[in-house]
Symmetry: C2
């Protein structure tokens, strides 16, 4: 940091995205939880016919897109805010609903951006460790003060909790906000969107990056009570009113118009996940129960960092986190059947070479 | 604001974007300084052939785009940061280089987002009023402590100062940052990009939204010393690493590959500006000398707000700011010759109806 940089960020440690190697074609890329399938052809068709002339500003309200999202979930359009990826809605939530007096509460093992957002916004933090088996128990949050951020399914563990548990947490204190980050919900999780009509204090964040194959388009959204969405709009209009470009907006509507394609892809990913888990268990791996498009795996026969490096050497990129509690684990995105077969083959080879 | 909203934003007043009426086709739209021409066809061609598969995340470094911008200006790629519109690079600059100890210094009449960014980031502010004739004199900033934000050309006035004056300001104190917001520089202004190789403390912000006809794509950038860009990258990677979507990135490169098209459009706009100014002066209007794709106009025969409303009633949308010092002025974007003819005709009619 230079002599010009504000001292308020002295302790700021930026988020480290998964590797995006320039020679990506060399790798089976299973490190950033992307979909192996292209976005719906309807996205392209819709964009071709409906993109607002690009010389004009995009609609700051993203009206058509917001209505399409609202319709998809059966909520009012004033209960939806579309953002530049779900990272943006998460940051808006940290901005609006946490500070020094209202800490952010989140797990020790969860999405690595939460502590960065807390630091960026100079918010207090209380870490609530996952249980011994990496499960999240809402009782650990009930009674504590502050805004709760729960990834459900969680990352990088992949484990999920039922909506009834989220509801128990939300209902336990109507004066604090619960943010449910559902980036991975379409791969077997249970969504809490149904709660937003009943409770004023819950915000559900979702994304087009995973099940909808649109990570490159950058589109996410929050669904919550009108109260919360109104606050988040105040933040948005003070940060970047034209946050979504016209092409992404149009393609988002096209993608929502093709739910069968999304469902079919999710089904394939879940089948490939079961196939991969079965293969790993045969080789003695521990695999956490996953409701996401990735699995969290560990073996007594090879340390996590060494496993990650060996896989990379042999052309398979997965993610390893440099954090004591999970240093023996790797997160593996679920891709096509061919990619997962290659991953299993390479894993088998690595284990063989070590014996 | 709800009971959940952080009290740190109690005084936050969001930015109000120019009207984007749903029945836009009814209007000659001269209110948000957009280009009346479509983006270069090369943008579409390039995007069609080079957009990274959309199911994958966009490149967080926007490497190809960053190199293309760097090449355009003859600077190193580490001196460039591409952002989601130039609003994003401006907010990053407020985040990184202003706080309670380092105030933001800017004019009383300038881009309306500066005070919002200052409030959003809880930064101190010192307003430095423009001179009586709406001109900016850098002597009013020299000797003061804090980070300077100068729109050059300024908005909504359209007036510009030479790079020699910016250099005098930058050189006067190497320990404070000067941010030069050049959104409108291509319509007759003088760019300060040449200063970034010589001085560590200057950041130039530009956009694809105006001269490059790409407001709907959302693309801006900062050019500065490696020191400043490195700090700004720390902010970016703590906020939204994948800030630019793949389509916008590819189209940006296509647009940069077609500078003749951009230049020809700027020439047309400047001609239409001269045509419009001549017409207004014939009707007794005061028009500030403009180096931008808009003009700032006022008449003794009709009050600014009434003029704005009468124009809107007759199908011409311009921008009027609810601010005492400029309440008698309107900002009029420069469009096609036909649009400007219509604007002049309607103005003549309005004046006639009042006599």
């Amino acid at each position: 940091m230079s002599r010009f940089f504000s001292s308020k960020y002295a302790a700021l440690e930026p988020y480290t995205p998964g590797e995006q190697p320039m020679d990506m074609d060399r790798y089976v890329k299973l490190n950033t939880n992307e979909s192996p399938f292209p976005p719906s052809q309807k996205a392209l068709d819709y964009a071709a016919n409906n993109t607002r002339t690009l010389n004009l500003y995009s609609d700051p309200n993203s009206y058509d897109l917001t209505c399409a999202i609202a319709k998809t979930y059966g909520v009012d359009k004033d209960m939806v805010l579309a953002t530049n990826g779900s990272d943006e809605i998460l940051n808006f939530a940290f901005m609006a609903f946490t500070d020094q007096k209202t800490p952010a509460l989140f797990a020790d093992i969860t999405y690595g951006f939460y502590p960065v957002y807390a630091q960026l916004n100079n918010s207090a933090v209380e870490i609530v460790p996952l249980r011994e088996d990496f499960s999240l128990n809402v009782d650990d949050y009930i009674g504590k003060k502050g805004t709760v951020f729960i990834a459900n399914p969680n990352a990088p563990t992949g484990t999920a909790i039922p909506v009834s548990e989220i509801e128990r947490l939300v209902a336990s204190d109507p004066n604090r906000v619960v943010v449910v980050d559902e980036a991975y919900v379409d791969f077997g999780g249970e969504s809490s969107v149904s709660l937003v009509k009943k409770y004023e204090n819950v915000l559900v964040c979702q994304t087009f990056s995973k099940s909808r194959s649109f990570a490159g388009g950058r589109l996410g959204y929050g669904i919550g009570s009108k109260t919360l969405i109104s606050d988040l709009n105040t933040v948005k209009y003070s940060t970047n009113p034209y946050n979504i470009n016209s092409m992404t907006s149009a393609m988002g509507i096209g993608i929502l118009s093709d739910p069968d394609y999304t469902k079919a892809n999710c089904k394939t990913i879940m089948e490939n996940r079961a196939f991969t888990v079965a293969g790993l268990k045969k080789m003695g791996f521990k695999v956490l129960p996953s409701s996401a498009n990735f699995i969290f795996v560990s073996s007594d026969r090879i340390e996590g960092g060494a496993y990650y490096r060996s896989l990379k050497e042999k052309g398979v990129l997965v993610r390893h986190f440099d954090k004591a509690r999970i240093s023996n684990w790797c997160r593996v995105s679920i891709g096509t059947r061919e990619s997962m077969q290659k991953y299993l083959d390479v894993t088998e080879q690595i284990l063989k070479e070590r014996t």
